[in-house]
Each structure stands twice: as structure tokens, then as C-alpha cells.
Symmetry: C3
Subunit: 319 residues, 3 copies
């Protein structure tokens, strides 16, 4: 069993429910992971993912081995048949099979390059490991998705919709400006997760920021942010770079920053963001510091998202 | 309970006594830290602190998560109200609160910049974490102090004054030359620790190397190193850069190097240094390799200093 | 007890036999390392060694502390009597003695510089630690040898010679081309290990690639690769740079690449390489992906090689 994408969740409702039970008693399955090892391989920086995934593994009694692969290991080749006489020292074929012998589960973070759309879309690092490894693979953010984040977001949504009294929530994914080009992974996985939810889901962004149509599918897009925010119960904010003009920053329009005024258009919406967030660029201090901000709890739920994923994988290993 | 500075020690005598008992039986409280996690966040290099704090946590049964924050995480913003459109990706407000959800204790190393005196004195990294975190914070050397080192030094002093037969020891903190500009943290905390001890304490350094007057207080300063060394029972050596001419190297005078001849002026003094030390610049080989050198034992006591601090914090968490 | 070189194996036959038993029941000695700590100090990149040595330590119940010494600690001075006023902050004398207080075993990886033959041959980092540390030292690849790899190779040879029905195997160590200058450590230790085995052992390489004569001794050298491959049961391939023209790449002759045609000259030989390996430069895809390739199993055996070494050291510590 791999956890590569939101599609690997067979029932979001069920997983969220189980994760919330784990949250009430995180050490309940402390013996499940005894003598099992998870390798966390990072090709990019990480704070929440690094610590929450370790924490989740520890809650399950697993041993963790953390490796900053790009700095501590060897540069990897992913193409088949290459004459490896340039900068790459090791092929994914060997690396994935070898690490599988030291780890019972391998978790991988490898961001999009934002330079080569085809390679990014092919998720060559994640899928390279998934193809050649002989143990389960967990996606800690790949070029296309961040399904641990999406699962944590699903938990957070579920925990915070009680006040709607059963009404289908209106959830808005809003682009916001950012000084640098960022990947689409978080937005992609959030969209895919929302597509599996009972919700009135709207994506809003300036023209030119359409997400990969293969992912956005027929999710509703509203180019007028103010219009999108009307009656919203949850505002999920994230910057991403252009997909059509791949990896480019085509707008930094400050009128898209999430402000108190914008939030006033909503139905007292809760504010969500995956973090890290640039204050007063993506979102104003007053929104982030408001009691309706869920960002800290979202990060907390990363532990239980990772823990339910690892628990399900461990369950299959014990069989 | 935080451990940010020497002032957080309510009784040095008591803590040193308890630490020495831990040293005799380091695994006595092996169960105290079960299922507790400490996050060690490094913004700077570390050898002794990195390993001794891990060791201390392990002796108490804790799980450790080590992170080189500056390289493995995101660049942090510490100012309130900033428009974060430059190099900083995450605000301390989020980082500290988020990490508090993954760790029961957070320990932080963040050296002085030696460029901005006001910011260094404000200890923005350490105090940023202390302000926003919701779990105890331990200082693994901040811009102003290194209280784990000072506590280890207090243990070492206590262990090595038996031969004085109850006489109040004369302890000299001596500046020594160094090719690079170094922070004041070790010297500051040593001074603050000595100010709480029964001792004849003297600081000696060339003019221009006065420590922050808010820390030095009315501790005795003697500009003549030879005079200071007379009758000394302990010579504690450390380089630091100028405080008044902030962060500058205003002297590399080799006559201040601790030599056999200098040590001959003392009352067969024990030699102390926090390490790392540059041989034959700060101190001559013959002094460091002499049986009166305590530097290795000082490093050993780092484990028990950290362990007593963590034990006291764990005691409060269990309440 | 140190494990610095192949010569530290008193009986290869016995160690291989014990390692193979551990492989059948890796957790049998899970309690042996309780409350014991191993420090893994890396001065260079590492994948297999990093993970397999951690895994081995965990299988024995030890706690591990991993440190990228060159990046996370202080630059070390190894010369005696130096005036340390340049780039080095700490002397091996202090570092080794200090770390010995935090770790029960210290394992070290420090590659050859390939610039200074005398210093490389003196193994200043490994031997510096071995000289000043007060705990056992394990070599995770030094400038001269990689005895954990050689031990894993000995295990792999033993596991794969059953089909020879007791016949003394013909084992060929073949140089192969590589774009960069590589150290001699793996080849050296393999030679030293083979010199202790009952085997028909041949080294083949282009002229100019003779290994250190102090290591090669009277091992047979055959400059004609095709001739060497005849009747071979095992082809162990590795690139190394010139020893006489120290650290230089004096040939990249592609006719030395291990190909299907070359392997056809052998007695259906098994193919071995320590990894990482550059595909289609050192060896062709078709050889590496053939069922006669042992490279993945060699990597797997790194765990049991490390584990038998650590077990033997732990046995001495318990006495």
C-alpha cells in the first residue's frame, strides 16, 4: 500500500474519522510499529512535514531515519538507459531497492522544479521510488501533490463545521499573491480532496492562474474573488505559480491579499493555510491572528494525518 | 518553566548537587521522559551541545528530533507587522506555535550576529520562541548567554575545589586572543553564574573588551592579566569580541595567550575553557595537556547540566 | 576493540558465519545495546553506510546520534603543535575525547582527499579519532579502507558460491572507467579481504592503475581484462583513480566497461559492485539488471556486516 496521492484514500470520511480517534489517544497503537523503521528522505526543506511525520511514526512506536537526500547522499539519475557520465552518481533503480532493505516504509519529499512541466507532472522522484522500491512509499509533497496536507485539511474542516448544523459548507480555495514562484502541490491535493467532499467548492484566482485542467476537472472557478467569498464558510488560501505559463509569477496583485475586508464578505468564514505563510503578502496579520484562523490546528492535524496513513500501512505489513 | 538564562536557576548550589547525583546514576530517571519529545533546533554549528543535550534527553527516556533550522527549514521573520515580501518565508508566531504541537520541550541555539547590538541584546530568536511557544524553551546558546555551559562550569568548579579545604576559591575569567570575532554568550553566563557563587571573582581583559555593563555589574575587573592571575585557583579562559565597538576584534595581543608562565603566577590553578579552543592562540598546548586542565570534564558535565534542566522541566510537565 | 581495517577481523570465516546467523534473526540481540549510544560522524556523503549502520545499531537496541561533522560541527585540526590561527576551530585531541564521553562507540566516515598521498595514507581523521578517543572506533570508509563494505562482500561471496560445489572460486577485481577521480578505499579493503580467503584472486586494470603496493602485495595482477575474466566465478567491479600519479584520472577507456560480452568470457560469473554505480559507464544496464547481479544483496549485507562488528564491540563493553 502506497500513499502517493489523495486518490489513495478509499474513504475520506472514514479516514478522517479514524484520524480524529487517533488524536484523542495518539499512543493507543504504540506497539504497532515496534521494530519497524521509516526512512524520511528530503530533497527539499521541511518543518511541519519533517517534525509531524517523525512524531506520527514515534506515536506508533516506529524508529525513524531522517536523511536530507540531496545534501547527505548522492545525486540521483531517474532516466532509463542513460550513460551516467555527468553529475549523477546513482540511479533510482539501485537507490530505491537498496533503501527498501533498510526501511519498512519510505517517505519522500521532492518539490516541483517549476522548470520542466512534463517532468514535474510525471513526478519522477516520487514515482521513481514507487516503481522501484519494494516497500510502501509515502508522499511528503511531490511535484504534483501534498496528500498528507490535504488529509490534515480534511480533518480540520470536519472538526470545524459543527456550527453549520449539517448545512453543506461553502469552501473557497483562493489564490493570493507571493513574491516567489511556488509549486501547485498543495492546491492540487486540496482540490482533489474537496472533489471527494460534500461541499459547495469554489476556486478563485486571477486569469492565468488556472490549475492543471486534469486536476481542476469541473470544479467551479470564479475569477472575481469578492464574488467567490460571498457566503463562504471556509477560505483556504494558497499561492501558486502559473501552470499554463509554467512556473512563472504572472501577477502579484495585492488586491488578492486576504484582508479583514475580504473576510467580511464571507459567512464568518474560518481561515485556512498550510503554512509557511508570508504575513501581509498572502494574508493580513489581522486575519491570521483572528480567532477564526485555523492554521495552527491544521499544522497540528498533520501529525494525525500522517499517523492514520502510517497506521494503515503498518496494518498491511502485519498481515 | 523555561531555561533561558542563568537567572532561571533558583539555587545553583541545589542544582549542582542534584546534577552531581544524576552523574552518579544517569539512568535513574529513564522513565520520566517516556513518550515525551524534545526538539533541538540549531541555527548554528554545534558539537558538545548537540550531542550532550541529545544524550541527556536519552538518559531521561525522551525521544529527540534534531533540526538544523537554518538549512532544513524556512528562514524566519521575527519582526511584528512586517510585509514579508523579502527573503523570510515564515514568521516566528507560526513556527513557535506549530513546533510546540510536535515537541514537549524546544531547545534552541541561535548565536549573536555581532552586527546588530540591539537585536542581539534582545535575543530575538530565543525570546521569539519563548514568547510564542506553548511549551518550555531551553537555551542552547543564544546571542546573550549560554546557561547550559555555565551550569556545567558550576558543576566542574564544585567537583574541583575540594583541595582548597573550604577556602573561598579565587576564580579568574580571562580574555584571550582569537583570530575571529566571537560572541559574548559564554563569558556573560559564566559571569552571571559566578555572581551567584561564594568566590573571589575577577575578570581580566585588555581595555576595550569590557563586557556588557548590564551583565558585568560590579564584578571586579583587572586590566593587568598577571596581577589577576596571582593566587588564582581557577583560570577560566574565553575569547570574546568587543562589546563597546560591537563585534570588532580590537586586539589579538599574543601576550594574553594562556601559557605555562602565566599559569605559574597562580595558586596551581585549574584551567577551564568551554571548547572548541584554538590551541596555541587562546592557550598553549602545555596548559591544555596538563593534568590541571579541566576542559574535558567540563564537556562531560554538559550532559548532566542538560539532564538536570530537562529533568526539572519534565517534573513540571508531569504535574 | 576498534574496527579500523580488514586486519581487525581475526577470522573472516567465523565472522561471516556469525553475520549470516544474525541475518536470519536480526533482532536476536535486541537487548545487547540497551542504553548504549553510537555516534555516526560523517565528513562525506553516505547513503548505504548511513542507513545500514543505523539499522544495525537499532537491531542491537542501541541509540544512534548522527552528525554531519563537516557541516554541523567545527572544522578540525589534526596536526600536533599547530598555532591554530587559521580556519580550524577545534583540535582532534579535544573532539575525540569529548565525543567519547557522549558515545559508547564512534563510527567515522572520512574520504581520501586524493590530493595529499601521505596524509591520505596516514588516515589522519580515522587514526586521529582512534588515537585520542577513549571508546571503540568503527571505520565507515576512511582514506585507505572500507572494511564494512569488504565484510559485506565476504558475506555475499559466501552466500553465492554454493553452486561451485566446493571448488575454489575465481574472483576478479576489475577496474572500470568513471568520469571523476575516486578513492581506493573499497578496492583496497576488497583486496585485503580476498587475501584472507581461499580463492583464485586476480586484479585487473590498465597500466598506471596499480594499487598501493603495500596493499596489493603479491596479489596477482593481469593487465588484460579479457584474459582475467576467463573462468571467473565473480566479477567485482570498481573504479579508482591512479595511485602512482596520485588522485589522477589517467584513463577513461570505455573498453573496460563491464558489458554482456565481457561477462560472456566468464564462468557465468556473478557481478558485484559496492554502489553507488554509474550505469553504462562502469557497467552496462544489461549486466546490472541481470539475475547474476548481486549488487542489491551486497547492500543488504551491509546491515549484517555492521551488526556483527557492533555486536562484537558491545560484547567487549559488557565484559
Amino acid at each position: 500500500m502506497n500513499y502517493l496521492a489523495v486518490k489513495d484514500i478509499d474513504s475520506i470520511k472514514q479516514w478522517v474519522s479514524e484520524a480524529r480517534k487517533l488524536k484523542e489517544d495518539p499512543l493507543k497503537y504504540k506497539k504497532l510499529g515496534t521494530d519497524k523503521t521509516i526512512g524520511l528522505l528530503f530533497f527539499n526543506p521541511s518543518l511541519r512535514t519533517r517534525l509531524s511525520t517523525q512524531k506520527a511514526a514515534q506515536n506508533l512506536g516506529m524508529t525513524t531515519m531522517v536523511m536530507n537526500f540531496d545534501k547527505e547522499g548522492w545525486a540521483l539519475e531517474f532516466e532509463d538507459g542513460t550513460v551516467m557520465d555527468q553529475g549523477k552518481s546513482e540511479h533510482i533503480k539501485e537507490a530505491a531497492r537498496v533503501i527498501s532493505q533498510f526501511c519498512d516504509i519510505i517517505a519522500i519529499r521532492a518539490f516541483a522544479s517549476l522548470k520542466d512541466k512534463a517532468k514535474d507532472k510525471a513526478e519522477i522522484v516520487l514515482n521513481g521510488f514507487a516503481h522501484y522500491a519494494t516497500v510502501p512509499i509515502v508522499n511528503m509533497e511531490s511535484s504534483v501533490g501534498h496528500p498528507l496536507q490535504a488529509l490534515a485539511d480534511a480533518i480540520t474542516l470536519e472538526e470545524n463545521k459543527g456550527h453549520l448544523g449539517g448545512k453543506k459548507p461553502k469552501v473557497v480555495l483562493s489564490w493570493a499573491p507571493h513574491p516567489k514562484a511556488l509549486p501547485h502541490a498543495v492546491a492540487n491535493s486540496f482540490v482533489q480532496m474537496m472533489q471527494k467532499q460534500e461541499a459547495d467548492f469554489v476556486i478563485t484566482h486571477p486569469k492565468g492562474y488556472e490549475l492543471d485542467p486534469d486536476i481542476a476537472g469541473d470544479s467551479k472557478v470564479e475569477y472575481d474573488q469578492d464574488e467567490a467569498f460571498k457566503e463562504a464558510d471556509f477560505i483556504y488560501t494558497k499561492n501558486w505559480s502559473s501552470f499554463s505559463d509554467y512556473g512563472q509569477v504572472v501577477s502579484k496583485d495585492p488586491s488578492w491579499t486576504i484582508s479583514k475586508e475580504k473576510m467580511a464578505l464571507t459567512n464568518k468564514a474560518k481561515f485556512m493555510h498550510c503554512l509557511p505563510v508570508r504575513r501581509n503578502v498572502v494574508v493580513a496579520d489581522e486575519v491570521l491572528d483572528d480567532e477564526n484562523s485555523l492554521v495552527i490546528e491544521q499544522a497540528n492535524n498533520r501529525t494525525y494525518a500522517a499517523q492514520i496513513v502510517l497506521k494503515k500501512i503498518l496494518d498491511t505489513l502485519k498481515m
